[in-house]
Structures are given as C-alpha cells and as structure tokens.
Subunit: 246 residues, 2 copies
C-alpha cells in the first residue's frame, strides 16, 4: 500500500517531535531483550569518540542480563594457561546488528542470501541523517523518539518503539533510492507491523536494515558511515560494528 | 632482545622471497584450526571487491569443520516461524580476528583492557603494506609467505607459518611507531615464539594485532583500512571485519 498513509508515517519517523510515540506493547522477534543496559562499563549515552572526536562509535554493546554473559573464558591465565581465550555465544540479532534478506523471506534464505552476500559498498560510504530524503540518497539513519526516550538503555525492552509500518516501508522502497535503513531501536519495523514491514524491506534483497544503532547525541547531518558485519556464512543476520566519521 | 637478530627477522617478514619459510610444526593457541577452508561459498583467494573494485574485503570467513557450523537456526520459517533467527557460537580468535591486551597479559586482563577498549582510530585510517617502515607509520599489514603458500586455505592448520619472533616483535615496538600489526595467518607470533612474541606486543596495551587477514592478490601500497571488531565487553579477543579502500 503506497500513498498518503505511507507518507504520513514516514514523516512521523523523520519529523517526530519529542515525547510523541507510536504503537503498543510486548514481544520481540529479535532473539534478545533490548541490548545495551548495564553491560558496557564505558557504554553510556554520551558520545563515544575516537581520533580526537573525528570518529564516533554508533554501536550498542550486545548484552542479555537474563541469559548471562555472551563471552566466557575457555582458557584462563589465572588457572595456569599461557593465555586467555574467550568463546562467544549470542543470538545474531542482539545489540547493533544487520538483517540479511533471508531473515524474513524464506525464498531468499533458501537462495543463500545471507549476511556474507551484503554489499559492503552500501555499508561503507556517505550516509545521511536528514529531514529530507532527496532522490539519490542511498543511506539514511533514522534518529527517532527511540533515542530521545532512551529506549535502548531500558532493561527488558519497550515495544512502544518507533518503527516503520508496512506502508511506510513500502513507500520508502517505491519512492526513494535508499539501500541502507538505519534505526535506533531493535527493529526497523514497528511492533504492530513487525513482520509485514520487515518483509516490505527484505523482499528487495538489496535493502539492508541496520538495527539498534546508538544515535544518542548524534546531530542531523552528513557523515561517512562504516558498518562492518561478520562474515557469517549461512546466517540471516549478524552483529555489526558501525562508526560515523566526520 | 633488540639489535641485529631482531632486525634480521623483521626484514625476513618484510622481504621474504617466495618459497622461503620459517619455523616448525603443530599446535594452535588460537582456539580453532585455520579459518577459511571450504566454508564460504564465495570465499576464495581471488579479490573480493565491492563498489566497482574500490573496496576490497580482507576478512577470512570463520569456520571450523571439526566443530561444525558456527551458526544454527533457532527459529525457522521452514518449521512455521514468522522469521529465521540464527545463533552464533564461536571462539573469539577464529577467522580474521583481533587480540586485545588481555589475551596474554593477565594484568591487562584484570584491568579490563578488553576488545571494547581498543582504539577505533588505530583500526580505521590509512594503512601501509610496505617494504619500508618509516618512523611515523602507525599501521602495517604484513603480507608474507603465508599468503603465497595459501596457508589460510589449508585444512587443519600449518604451524610452519611466518610470524614474529620475540626479538622481532620487540624491535618493532622499540624502533617504529606501529600500533596496528596485521598478519596473514592465524598468529602474529611464529609458532616457536607463540607466547613470547604475543607478550612483546601485548604488554604495550596500545598495540593491536589483527590476525588471519586475507591478503591474497593485495598489492603492496597505501590503503585506507577499516577494521571493526565486535563490542565484546570482557573479551580478550574478537572476530573482526576488515576492508581496504583504494
């Protein structure tokens, strides 16, 4: 469905004034509760800068208080080993992550459109966080009320998050050249349209949703964006590390 | 130990002619066999380019034929779920990865110098793959006989790989400004100096070894390097995705 409803929603995402919310309650198709929380010692809403402020980390630390630590020591120097060696175990959609086409489109999954097929050119180039989306813009990070409300910092998840409706997603697909859609909570789709809006994006195998970005204190503007997922052959998602370079 | 032996080794790493090897046999402190192998459908020694050749992926796919798949479906559309959802389980030093200071220095591990403390500025800037290391160069990727011999493509690991000796590592620490040391096999340290050369690097918490890079068909030169590890709080290592931009 295209037309006015889609446009209305899209403008909501783009122009949403502070203290205005969309949608309802409970549930998470993304395998873990809201990432972030207390896990990262240094992980806080303030800007996490490197290189004298030129580089900003926009990645949330993956964590899951309920499931316990994601990383555990398999070899420990404290127990006599020559080295420390950790093992990682986590859902692929925890913390800042990327969805591959196979996440909700079975035909794409069967066709092996996994995270290792994602276009690194789309994931590493100029990005825009903007109130206008002129034709030709290929990457947009949506900083929404999710950031203003600090949803990524809440324990347990909050399903009243801002995300795309089905028709909003379809409008974006039909009327823009965007190939990378970044969002500041765990799902690019609103809770009421969790499956349908994902499907609207992912059926186009060249559109890459990047979810759970840390956009606290990031101003609207043009940035160099670098997003690098793991090469997880066969996986329909991956944790991803993302930075902005001014 | 500094002086001539160190310099000799360093030149070996830098100038090593084809078909010349260093070191001995068997064993792996890095948690898994040689990454790569048959796991990646598209993963092959040829250049993996994006953006019309401007971006080159220098990341090896993590895999472990012995341990089975790293990723498994927890929710499957084929079995009636609305989405596919994968879980990841892997040693943190498999495939292309980064060592944090705590990997072999217990005091650094106790001080929480984990992968989430690594300097993203060091990991994202101009890199050099060069026969000379002038003062001021901060990042070098060493393409060695490991690549020429195709070691990363061999099953089971080959401990006759080229890596730093203890004194070679110490020489580099003492005589260059290098903060990022990239190498084209699973360890920055040669097998005979597996612990000692790691320690020579890692005791300086600002030096970052990046291991198991895919440098097949990469020519000597200057590149923009982007390496993004996961934000694994508490972990002394992480899988990392690395690209060169021309």
């Amino acid at each position: 469905m295209a037309g006015p409803p889609a446009l209305t929603f899209l403008l909501l995402v783009l122009l949403l004034p502070a203290h205005q919310a969309i949608a309802t309650a409970a549930g998470d198709a993304h395998g873990g509760p809201a990432a972030g929380g207390a896990a990262g010692r240094r992980h806080a809403p303030g800007l996490e800068e490197y290189g004298g402020g030129r580089i900003v980390d926009i990645t949330h630390v993956p964590s899951d208080a309920a499931a316990g630590p994601l990383v555990r020591l398999k070899e420990s120097m404290e127990n006599g080993s020559d080295y420390n060696l950790s093992e990682l175990r986590m859902p692929c959609h925890m913390g800042t992550h990327v969805d591959a086409p196979g996440h909700m489109i079975q035909a794409h999954f069967a066709a092996c459109l996994d995270v290792d097929t994602l276009d690194l050119e789309v994931l590493n180039a100029e990005a825009m966080e903007s109130l206008n989306i002129p034709r030709g813009v290929r990457r947009v990070l949506f900083r929404t009320l999710n950031t203003d409300r600090g949803l990524m910092w809440k324990q347990g998840g909050d399903m009243s998050f801002v995300g795309f409706t089905e028709d909003g997603a379809q409008w974006l697909v039909d009327n823009t050249d965007i190939k990378l859609v970044g969002i500041d909570y765990i799902s690019v789709a609103s809770f009421d349209h969790l499956i349908t809006a994902h499907v609207a994006f992912l059926k186009n195998a060249d559109i890459i949703p990047v979810e759970a970005l840390k956009l606290d204190n990031i101003n609207t503007g043009l940035y160099m964006l670098h997003c690098l997922p793991l090469r997880l052959v066969g996986s329909e998602g991956s944790p991803i590390r993302c930075i902005l370079i001014k």
